[in-house]
Amino acid sequence: MTAAPEAVAGESTPVLSAVDVTKHFVVRGAVGDSSVVRAVENASVDLHEGRIVAVVGESGSGKTTLARMLARFYEPTTGEILLDGVPATGRATRTYHQDVQLIFQDPFGSLNPVHRVRHNLDRALRIHDRRLSASERRKAAIELLERVSLTPGEDYLDKFPHELSGGQRQRVVIARALAVGPRVLLGDEPISMLDVSIRLEMLNLLDRLRREDGLALLYITHDIASARYVCDDVVVMYAGEMVEGGPKEEVIARPAHPYTKLLVESSPDPDRVGTLSREELFDDAEALGEPPSLIEPPDGCRFHPRCPFAMERCRTQAPPRTDVGGGHWARCWLHQEGRAEEIGATTFAAALANRDKEVRS
């Protein structure tokens, strides 16, 4: 079930892994009727020391729910979260969080506006190690701030969140998470609310934490370009299901699932071969469709209503997982039907136009 190459997976057990986790939320209506939102279905992901796994998908694809299950804010409806191969359900969340920390998407909401930076770090250090003296904690707090490139650290200790920029806040949030000495960092779209000009620095920071401290990172994003920049492995989610995964170069260069292809093609890329501009490719946004309802997901493959390659079988049966080599896998009927090369043969938009033509004729 790993997205990492076999070489690595064989050597070590993953620090943190989700095994076939499913999360259903029950929504109660005003008149007592209830419906089930299938936020995540049978998702699996492995996080290894010193590696970054990116989870890519559009809004509402279940990325955040997956991260929050890994952070144990929600218990999965079925499936298990394993920390060092041991089910996490038995452990107190308090000790669990000594190993696993989550970085929230919104740096403006994840620091209490009434407390100084010092309070956040000091509490974290104190909870982590009660024996530390006040001066030791101060020193450790400054070190943490400098580790996330807030230098000189002393200048930031007495600042309130509103005195910091979005990027600085996110760094403080990361420093706070690092204060408890975690082995796994879950980033829930950690850069999506930051100014474009500082995103790269944040990605470099994550990369440095991975390299220097050997942290296992989960990087959630809707932007496949940033995933390509920083991660080792990519998992693509669509409507609560994982549709494709593998080493990033494989997945991005040779998408094995039509949805991944759509994602890759809709992200701007100056290197992409081809004369068509993005506007020409996707001039008719409506034709691309929109994500399905998670209360009544489509039967069969959840992507079939939007898929230009959809067959009769896609409408009724969920596709099985197919390995396409090199740790790269996808869930798509095209691989079972021997039509895999069709994905690479054309662009998504062209395939879509082709399908529409067929429907009309």
């Binding site: 804010f73 969080h97 989550l102 929230f104 209490n112 509490r123 909870i127």
Partner: protein, 303 residues
């Protein structure tokens, strides 16, 4: 925070008045004995129901008691009931509202049920029954009764506010560090409710003073103690209104109105601080703006 509160004229008025009455309540006995040299309970037979004079600044009652001395002593009684009732009410509101909002689930169901129960209870008849049952009601008991029956509305407000704060990312973030629930409530959530709690306390203070006056007027009070309510009640029972002894009931009435206004003023000020849109332009700001406009116009004319 404090300097900006003080710079607001409404708050300044409110604070001065509340401070004045608080001082009166604290220094009351010393003031009446040493400064005025009158015992508020002493009957001066030579001056029965006499209008304000040099000797009795606010006149005397039907029983020959000095109204000013009674007013000062009454400030202590009324403020005591108001503050104690507000303290009890606010503490209960925080305990029920914040706990229910923070923990949710079954805890919320139970606490919310109790809150709703207290909300729909007919408070006034209940107070009659309870105070009738506890015979010989002192001000202390009155305050406890008012506090215990008056927290439900505040608890609902705090519950709603807590619900919105506890799911904010910073609470989750601190919880992830391993903070205990107690600290999360006290250090992360409560500071966001301070404005609500302050205004609730001031509201409860007015409510407590008014409730005490109302109960005293209806005859439920400690006959031995003096409060503004019991003064008005005594004036009423001696038909002071019909006989034109206005100096007996107007001063305590005014005091109640004044402290109510003052507390409301502080509340307005706190609201304005929290929501700058409510702020009205002060005369100073308007004058400064006009002066700037004139200066610009003069410069334009010269050029």
């Amino acid at each position: 925070m404090l300097p900006s509160l003080w710079s607001n004229p409404k708050v300044r008025f409110g604070l001065v008045v509340v401070g004045f009455f608080t001082a009166l309540a604290v220094l009351g006995p010393w003031l009446t004995e040493s400064v005025l040299g009158v015992d508020p309970r002493a009957n001066d037979i030579s001056a029965i129901a006499s209008p304000p004079s040099a000797e009795h600044w606010l006149g005397t009652t039907q029983f020959g008691q000095d109204v000013l001395a009674q007013l000062v002593a009454g400030a202590r009684g009324s403020m005591f009931v108001g503050v104690l009732a507000a303290l009890i009410g606010t503490a209960l509101a925080i305990a029920f509202g914040v706990t229910a909002g923070y923990f949710g689930g079954t805890v919320d169901h139970i606490l919310n049920f109790v809150t709703n129960l207290f909300m729909v209870m007919p408070v006034l008849p209940l107070i009659f029954i309870v105070s009738g049952y506890l015979r010989g009601t002192g001000l202390w008991v009155i305050a406890v009764i008012i506090g215990v029956f008056g927290w439900a509305g505040g608890a609902r407000t705090l519950r709603a506010q807590t619900l919105s704060v506890r799911n904010r990312d910073f609470v989750l973030g601190m919880r992830m560090l391993g903070e205990s629930h107690g600290r999360l409530v006290a250090v992360e959530v409560l500071p966001h409710l301070v404005g609500w709690i302050a205004s609730m306390f001031l509201g409860a203070l007015i409510g407590g003073i008014l409730a005490e006056a109302g109960l005293a007027f209806l005859g439920i009070s400690d006959s031995g103690s003096i409060s503004w309510g019991s003064m008005i009640q005594a004036a009423q029972s001696q038909s002071a209104v019909l006989r034109g002894i206005w100096w007996w009931f107007v001063p305590p009435g005014l005091c109640i109105a004044l402290i109510g206004t003052a507390a409301a003023m502080i509340n307005f000020g706190v609201d304005e601080l929290a929501n700058p849109k409510l702020r009205a332009g002060t005369r100073r700001v308007i004058r400064r703006t006009r002066r700037a406009e004139r200066a610009v116009a003069a410069e334009g004319g010269a050029a």
